[in-house]
Symmetry: D4
């Protein structure tokens, strides 16, 4: 009911006497979500957009997650992402719903459904240790129907490794640059490509990396134009945004 067309339609029904003012009031309040006491599930978006849904698994019990996933499945959601869950939780869920569990990013995809990979999103990492975050981004994007190219371990300290993948980078419609430590990957990539670059700082590192702060600040200060940043380790957010950008339609000139 968060859409002006729906509201206008409702008002018309009130005018036509099909809906009483009191019921209209009720309907305005009736949210397009279901209340599971511990969570309010939002079905609108998924149905309307064909998008992947996400459940942030950390801080939820396996039972809570199961309850939410099952209800979503009944409503017809597919490719439901369940992030940051252990192998144990993944195994538990698999006893109730179909789910693909990915160990490195600690991610489950429930009610999996193959989708054609459209466009092209490149996911690049500075090092091997950035893979968990990168895979969360890549799998999210794939679940949402995007074609993803992975270019891992191309940190700027060995520039030739990055440059040898230059043509791959330049064919992307959107690049996700994942890096911890000094996070310089985003700047360098941002200077090489013309498409939007989403920088994901990771908490990989030690000492003065301060849990990803160093990479975060570095990426925010990137001198390259066309970069923006998401939260530390937020692979899902990067994948989701990259999907939005990759799937942009062209401007319709009038």
């Amino acid at each position: 009911m968060d859409n002006k067309h729906d509201i206008l339609e409702l008002l018309r029904q009130v005018a036509d006497g099909k809906v009483s003012p009191e019921n209209a009031m009720l309907e305005l309040k009736e949210a397009p979500f279901e209340d599971l006491a511990y969570a309010k599930i939002d079905f609108h978006r998924s149905v309307r957009q064909g998008a992947a849904e996400v459940i942030y698994g950390e801080g939820k019990t396996p039972e809570q997650i199961k309850g939410i996933v099952e209800r979503m499945g009944e409503k017809g959601c597919r490719n439901i992402l369940v992030t940051r869950i252990s192998q144990e939780t993944g195994d538990y869920l698999s006893r109730f719903v179909p789910i693909d569990y990915h160990k490195i990013p600690r991610l489950g995809i429930a009610f999996p459904e193959a989708r054609p990979g459209r466009g092209n999103i490149v996911v690049a990492t500075g090092g091997t240790s950035d893979m968990p975050v990168a895979e969360e981004a890549a799998l999210t994007a794939e679940a949402m129907g995007n074609h993803v190219t992975r270019v891992y371990d191309v940190g700027v300290a060995g520039l030739h490794r990055l440059l040898s993948n230059l043509d791959i980078l330049m064919q992307a419609r959107c690049v996700i640059a994942v890096a911890g430590m000094e996070g310089a990957l985003a700047s360098v990539v941002g200077g090489l490509v013309d498409c939007p670059v989403i920088a994901v700082p990771t908490s990989v590192g030690y000492g003065a990396s301060f849990g990803g702060l160093s990479a975060l600040l570095s990426m925010l200060n990137s001198c390259a134009s066309g970069c923006s940043v998401v939260n530390i380790d937020n692979g899902f957010g990067a994948g989701y945004l990259a999907s939005r950008i990759n799937q942009m339609e062209g401007i319709k000139e009038e």
Copy 2:
């Protein structure tokens, strides 16, 4: 020379004997920029992309800026953005080159050239004081040929002001959300629209806003999907990225 087609072409000319190896080596090194001693001007991008060029004015003398702008103008650059310059510097520059100076964002546009506004970028601010940053973003986007809609002073503490502009927001291809203090605008807007949202924290505020840190952290932690963040007060960066996104062409299915 940062493009594999150019390199391949050069190699072919070497193979054909049209270019000697030594000269090819030289050409590989010859950068597509001009060296003004204090700055290296890059012409490639502008020419290739028809994009606006930017000169970050802070920390440069009026004379240095003049030198760079003049040289760019000679090379055919138009709509050259000169950010963070005083009225005095703007006046000084106007004695040498055609320039439109905008007082609120402290921004000059040299060799201005009207461009048709394509697509639709919405720039929203939390308060009146966020206008300088918002205008830097809006003028950048306009200079790059985008249609921009401004929705100012719609902070979340007065939610009806934001909601009454909901239809404007929902028609955007990309939203730039500019806010200081607690920076909640990005989260709320991110939850309302389906297009990419670029969050710009501003240094507006006092006390525990710590020069924009509060808004920055808030925006990075946004629970809404589809948001990403640029540096504090970085209106130019947001406008530039929004332009890239707004002007995306649709995926060409094969």
Copy 3:
């Protein structure tokens, strides 16, 4: 239109055919504020609550402030608080509207109107230098119709000064504790009184006070129950909240 009774009324009028669906839609969008291009003035609250309105002066031009104040005055607002403005801005405004300017808190009260001081709010400070913030709080509360008692320079390093005002503190319905440096005043007062205590950290201090951070953290960690904290130097916020608390009506038992 942010009130369910108004919406229900509107729906009834649509049902009665008095309002067309399209006009209802429009009205739902018509915000109870006026758009001055640079600011959206909200009249609802003031009229409905008889409350003081506030304009945060920092970062606005005298002309912008004048525009907002004048329009508010026309709409019938009284005791409009204009915070953080210089004497010059105060003088400028006084040429157009009636205004009382208070030098220490750098605060103007436009269209001033005496209101009976109800209940009792005590404003206490740790030192003399905390007075600007304390006066902003006290004048805000007075403008909103509250009786205010000031107890200044009663910091905990000279405990007898505080204890000798114990009876004044214990008669308060709400205490505002204003302190910089180590901010211990809030804890000690919070342990002495039974009413709500609003702690205001100030940026008074040097060195490791880090612009009020020390007092802020100290107040947030207060071991005394019944304390809460507002932003550093936010005298207005404390005065406004204290007014809300002081003017609480008793629970109506059914």
Copy 4:
């Protein structure tokens, strides 16, 4: 003995010869608390105010807690809150004293006693993971005799979930807004309601939430008037303060 009436009474008894100066001196020093070597129990407040007592469980051994609770129970305290204790400690205590243990907020209520729920405090959370802190607040308020309404998982990224509970929020005498991550809930709620809002940042989140710092700063910078903030995860403090506010009596006009 921290009350001027008690001191005056004591002085009168000295004047009447009923108490010797030396004994009065002793009595002045005799604190209204009992010394258990490792803790000084304060009985005054509880008896005088009928309030719930609290024992901060973290960093105390089960034996220490048992000792304090037993002594309080003997003195007639009821609804003694024991915060942040494990299930094990709860079980241990239950062998000695009557206690209700609540698993989610890790909270025990010893010598529980039903109290009529007066007034109305609304506890709202941004997400499901904020429930432990929210329940600590809600149970504290209930133990102190307040009526509490829970509205969970209404974060601002899904604004319709919040708006559909608008009438519940608007009937509150005090709202406790509990949120982690970007903490925008407090600002939005603060703009919607007219009663005092107590914001509780939680340590829920990851990356740039920095253990609750992001939510804390966000809430302190809230542009909405009428908000104040307590320590990160301090559900008890919020519940206690909300009780004080909710149970305010009306101003007695003379």
Copy 5:
């Protein structure tokens, strides 16, 4: 009246009928300070201890300072320290009261009175730029009747400069170590001498000195035993504490 002997005496007078309970109550409240509206002056300490009094000048108007100093002088205070005042304020004060103004530490000593320098306090600095803070400490200590030895510019980067003053350091009863930048002076001195060492971090430095934070942390982490730290730039506090330590009397064995 913050002394148990005074209270006991008062109670005796009540018992003897010399003082009525009501008057005793009043007297208990009558603070040993005078209220100047903007400040509460405390005379007790000065008279009782023969100590120097201090007025923190920053954030007070010359008129306010003059008022406080004059009243203190009338009460018999001598060697009143007025810290952090400009030459102008010093000149203004000198028109009303006798005052010695010291330019480097921006310190005035009103109603100056020579006092014999007892014991021995050594004030050492890391560099020339630490002199303002060091002089504030040294003059404070001298005004309180201590003998002070200055050893300036003996930073640890030129260890021989420090070692060549080793015998001076080893004769001190208390050392004040004043240093900015990396603040290592305190550690090294603390390892060399056996008397208490008071470390004063200064805000001297640039870059990663972060306004004295680096020196502060360094001094707090000092591996040498016998060191403690005061606030950044707090020369007065160091001088005052050093005086307390230097003037300790020996333990009276019974």
Copy 6:
């Protein structure tokens, strides 16, 4: 050899031909410590001062600690403090050397030797949870021959608990104020007593206490004169410094 008298003596022996220049050079280099490969034990101080020695146990293996303690014991050291060791390490050490292990402060005292408690040091804490740090301070001071009075759980939120111990505080030659959370204890105590106050911030607390940072800043900013601060949780450092101060001899007037 870090003492000018020793050097002078050595030079005299060279002059007398009792020591060759080469041997003198060697002796100047021969440190008054023994090298255990992993540690250099310093015997000088202990012998000269009759002081307690300390071994910081964290990060050392039980075997390393045993090696150091045994060698010290052979050299005649007594009351050797071994801080921050587990019960297991304590048990292990007890198989080789006489040692008293204290569980709460996780502290062992090897080769224990009763010493008469001279003077008077008061150790006060804000809460029960500060006891481990307070006991480390108290036991250190006792091991060094000082009389210690403990006043625990007298935090400023219950001011009467502190004031009822006022006479104990005022009889101290030195007070150690141990507190976490907001750390206000140091300020209040500092304002009440005339002797030096050593403030020890503790890491007790949660949320915005940031591991003791809040208490640390609060104590550094204390408005009370005569306070200084040691590192967070540094009970040993406070006890050692208090001992130095308590055992000061009076000034010898010539």
Copy 7:
């Protein structure tokens, strides 16, 4: 292929018709590394420089490390450093490749090969607990063919321990100063020697050492010239850089 001579050579071969333009293009892209899917191994450097290779073990599985080490060994690499691995991982690796595991620095050296120790690098530590970092530095330097002298536990709080090793320090071609807590060792050593000093802050400490931040800031602010700093606990980086400096050849005057 990151070397202008190689490129020139390649171009010549194209000119000579020995390589086709297309193959040259391919070769330009063919990186001097091997792609193991999870890592890109760089062989160039090792072969060219005879240097030790390093694998940062943290965040890699034993299997991944084994794969990389084996492939490197086949290519002829020797003295391959594997940092931050557990004893278990070391044991696992030893079943496949020759490896020396060092327990204190948690470091393995695979395909070990004795190299003559050239020049002189001194590694000094402030305390015993800094040994793991110091050994990582020392073993790295030794594996790269440098002579290393260890001087441990010479912190500035016991200056004579440092000074008694002065001649060792002064014979170094490069000093690595490893220290936690207040990190003053670097400043003092930097003032004593004339060769480059590499400072390594360690995370040893507690409280306000904030995980090495205190030592880091202290070292960055060192007043001694000739010092530079690497990341907290980065023993490898210090050893590697020291090797580069120690093995510098003299300037060849023309």
Copy 8:
């Protein structure tokens, strides 16, 4: 007297009766510096090493600087660097001593003396605004007799500008990488060259650059081996250290 040979010589003279023990003691204390009351000038180093001397100008009066410079000049020092002084101070000094003032780095070189530029140090900057710091480094190195090559405005966002200077970088004996904002230059350069790289973070930038903190952390976390970092804006320190490295003599094999 900080040199073992000097001490041995002195001891020999004592043995020979040429120097009395008392005089030797005096001489040991007689520092190789001159005391100007406000500064202790150290002549040793300059004379012994033929190095440039430096006076940190900030926080010193022109008169103090003049005093120090004049005395140094009399002692024969040449190429005395006076850093961070204004043009006015430079002009003032030029009336007393020969001095070259450089406007961009705000640096004076007193008693200038041409020295042959030996070896090769490359100074590279990320942008034009980093020039003041870069010039301080370059001029320092030149004053100390090094050959310096400047490569300015080669930030990583325009990688071709950096790569086109690759051969210059690879011929360096030491590179100084100067950059603000995200500071990625150091990582990229560190990966390209084999010589030591000294990274200098600058305070250039805005927003989340936090006065150079972002560049500092980035550089400390550099994944490239062979890099080390000096304080923010510390051009002098970098130049001085680079000189030490550049002028290393080769290892003398025995």
